[in-house]
């Protein structure tokens, strides 16, 4: 096949290219440096906003160290996924096998975390520190010795919420609408465990991640429900809330941890009116009465493109990045010996997360930390999450003995954790 291009056509093409080169934005090019840190967050798909914000927080922390730890420069290689496990895995492999990074911080979303945990178990002398993913089984069942998670998981984030709905709001039946993947399973499990134990009844409606039209699911919400528990996030949550508002929905709203997030509330739309007054549980709120948090927010706000308050993903990535930096400092940047000293340092860390919550790891290398109950209030014309209750030092099994908790089975759409008190 031959292509004939006239001279005029070629000149037109060249002109167009020159214009394009002048107006298009060029990608940044990373510099060379000795400690190679890879990261995976979602710059595509339903959590694109969250992934961007996660990298904003990481950049802030690395910059505070002047991109140098123990005399070694940090080279940070950013990868992107779209919240799907296979994509996150491919990007992590690329970081380890081609970019030859020392360790990875990431990923952001639930099922991705489980995939990277399994991948980390196959590695020798490499470490994966979680980014923001919050599925329970990433660390609870079949944990990997190379995978560390300094943020609490989706089940922990619901600590206190089921009790609040049953006792304080005195609601006996709720409908749970949730995403059909690992992270909402964990959240729904944490909520149902408390709510059903206190005699509550729950109906469940699951929808795949990436659903954009929830109209038929909204039509199915039973009239007997006293409240609606929404465990969607990102654009899924936005679509659900917008369409629920359009359908004239009026039930009291209880939110999963990524509903009441900067990602949702920075978007404009009819959903905002409904969300004022919504109560949710999570590791972070816009307003927390804590000096460490106020300092973190002030520094965060100086970053270009920052939200009025850091998103949950930014805070989780920041917590894990802080851990990595602290451990690197303890070993003075020394990652030799199959990273044994570095991993020991990670395991032994005890530090304060950006929210001021004390963080330490359990025997599965999973975080024990504080969780907040938040309410959305209108402040200065902006919906704002305000922490009104803090549950301290929540562990991964919500205080239930581990063997008993494990016997309940892994959270799934068929096992939402709704077991009445025996």
């Amino acid at each position: 096949m031959t292509i004939r291009v006239s001279r005029r056509r070629a000149l037109q093409g060249a002109g167009a290219l020159a214009v394009a080169a002048a107006t298009l934005k060029a990608p940044a090019i990373a510099q060379n440096a000795p400690i190679r840190i890879g990261s995976v967050a979602t710059l595509e798909g339903p959590f694109a906003t969250g992934g961007q914000d996660a990298y904003r927080a990481m950049e802030m922390l690395f910059q505070a160290e002047n991109m140098t730890i123990g005399g070694r420069r940090i080279e940070w290689i950013r990868e992107s996924s779209n919240a799907q496990a296979d994509v996150a895995l491919a990007r992590a492999r690329k970081l380890i096998e081609q970019d030859n990074v020392d360790f990875i911080i990431g990923p952001l979303s639930g099922a991705e975390g489980i995939a990277l945990k399994d991948y980390s178990a196959t590695l020798n002398g490499k470490t994966i520190i979680n980014g923001g993913s919050g599925a329970a089984d990433t660390t609870l069942r079949n944990p990997s010795r190379n995978f560390f998670r300094f943020n609490t998981d989706g089940t922990q984030w619901m600590a206190g919420l089921g009790t609040y709905v049953r006792r304080t709001l005195n609601v006996s039946e709720v409908t749970v609408v949730a995403g059909d993947y690992a992270f909402p399973y964990a959240q729904v499990f944490g909520f149902s465990l408390e709510f059903c134990r206190l005699g509550g009844k729950a109906n469940y409606l699951w929808a795949p991640l990436g659903t954009t039209d929830f109209a038929s699911q909204i039509a199915q919400i039973p009239r007997s429900s006293g409240a609606l528990v929404v465990v969607h996030g990102g654009t899924d949550g936005l679509a659900f809330m917008t369409q629920y508002a359009q359908a004239g929905g009026s039930l009291p709203l209880i939110g999963g941890s990524i509903m009441a997030d900067a990602t949702m509330m920075s978007a404009r739309g009819p959903h905002r009116r409904l969300m004022v007054g919504m109560v949710s549980g999570g590791p972070v709120a816009d307003v927390i009465d804590d000096p460490q948090w106020n300092d973190f927010v002030a520094r965060y706000k100086r970053m270009p493109g920052a939200f009025p308050s850091p998103s949950i993903h930014a805070v989780n990535f920041a917590t894990n990045t802080m851990a990595a930096i602290l451990a690197l400092k303890q070993v003075n940047g020394d990652l030799s010996g199959g990273q044994a000293a570095f991993q020991r340092a990670l395991q032994g860390l005890k530090f304060k997360a950006p929210t001021g919550a004390e963080v330490s790891l359990d025997h599965n290398r999973h975080a024990i930390s504080d969780v907040f109950l938040n309410r959305i209030e209108e402040r200065n014309g902006q919906p704002t999450t305000v922490a009104f209750q803090r549950a301290t030092q929540i562990n991964q099994t919500l205080g239930v003995p581990e063997a008993q908790f494990l016997a309940l089975g892994a959270p799934s759409r068929n096992n939402p954790g709704c077991v009445a008190a025996s």
Partner: protein
């Protein structure tokens, strides 16, 4: 399942189908009639929606009633201009080379998506429908139902009738249809075929832009919708039959209903249902339901 719930779900399917029809009709026009494999159709949707939003937002902040309509016109116009630019600079001279056109348009869609990400960021956006078509209306048998979704059906019917009249009752339509059958003879008759192609491309792209603004009013607008609407358009056109407006309407209704009924009955696997329909149609009637065998 009660009768009311069943009717609501069917109406949801039809209103969703209306949106799919608007987007896919433009794709069908370009793909079916001109044989141009435009894998950047989703990008035209997204450009229309984002640029429409950029025009809409400042006007909305000033609280003028026509903000949404101006956004709609701007979205359509920009999509049409981009479509014409694509046809004129790259696609026109590779007419008939389908693989090359497919690859080039995939390349364009990647560039467009990244440029939109760089300029608009990843924050989700959504249009607010004007007061006249916001809120809920009473529908017999269903009860209160979002007015905007009913409006979508109205727009889709208008687009369908308009296209049918254009193709079957006007001289331009005659030229377009003649061009499908034999470009060379049409050219020999004194018709400027490249200009006809550009008109078709502008129209198809404008429909993508229209779909973009309507779609971004019904659902959030975010990065990645380009791929979704390209896929839906492909499925709709393949199921309905290429180049047939009626076929596109049937395809859109099947896909829209499948999505909503699937979500109500078996949400986890509803995604598969759309593709099951495509597989069945391709197995039994490869040219599509209303397609002409060639």
């Amino acid at each position: 399942m009660t009768l009311q719930l069943t009717l609501t779900i069917l109406l949801n399917g039809l209103t969703l189908a209306a949106l799919y029809f608007i987007v896919a009709s433009g794709f069908s026009l370009i793909f079916g009639l001109m044989r141009t494999v435009n894998m950047a159709h989703g990008s035209l949707y997204m450009v229309g929606a984002y640029v429409g939003y950029a025009v809409f937002e400042p006007l909305y902040d000033q609280d003028v009633w026509y903000a949404w309509y101006v956004g709609l016109v701007a979205g359509m116009a920009v999509a049409a201009v981009l479509g014409v630019a694509m046809q004129k600079t790259v696609l026109g001279w590779m007419q008939g080379q389908e693989l090359r056109q497919a690859l080039v348009t995939i390349g364009i869609s990647i560039i467009v998506a990244d440029q939109l990400l760089a300029n608009f960021g990843a924050t989700s956006r959504q249009f607010f429908a004007p007061d006249a078509i916001f809120g809920a209306s009473f529908v017999p048998g269903v009860g209160r139902y979002p007015t905007f979704r009913l409006f979508q059906i109205g727009v889709a019917i208008a687009v369908g009738i308009g296209l049918w009249l254009l193709l079957n009752r006007t001289k331009v339509g005659l030229m377009i249809r003649a061009g499908v059958d034999d470009r060379d003879i049409l050219s020999a008759c004194g018709v400027n075929v490249p200009v006809v192609n550009i008109v078709v491309f502008a129209l198809g792209a404008a429909l993508a832009g229209l779909g973009g603004v309507i779609g971004a009013t019904a659902q959030p607008l975010a990065q990645g919708v380009d791929g979704r609407f390209l896929l839906i358009s492909l499925v709709v056109v393949i199921v309905g039959g290429m180049g047939s407006i009626t076929g596109t309407a049937i395809g859109a209704i099947l896909v829209g209903l499948a999505e909503q009924v699937g979500q109500a009955l078996f949400p986890t696997y509803s995604v598969i249902l759309t593709f099951v329909i495509m597989v069945v149609v391709l197995a039994l009637r490869p040219q599509g339901i209303m397609g002409r065998a060639r």
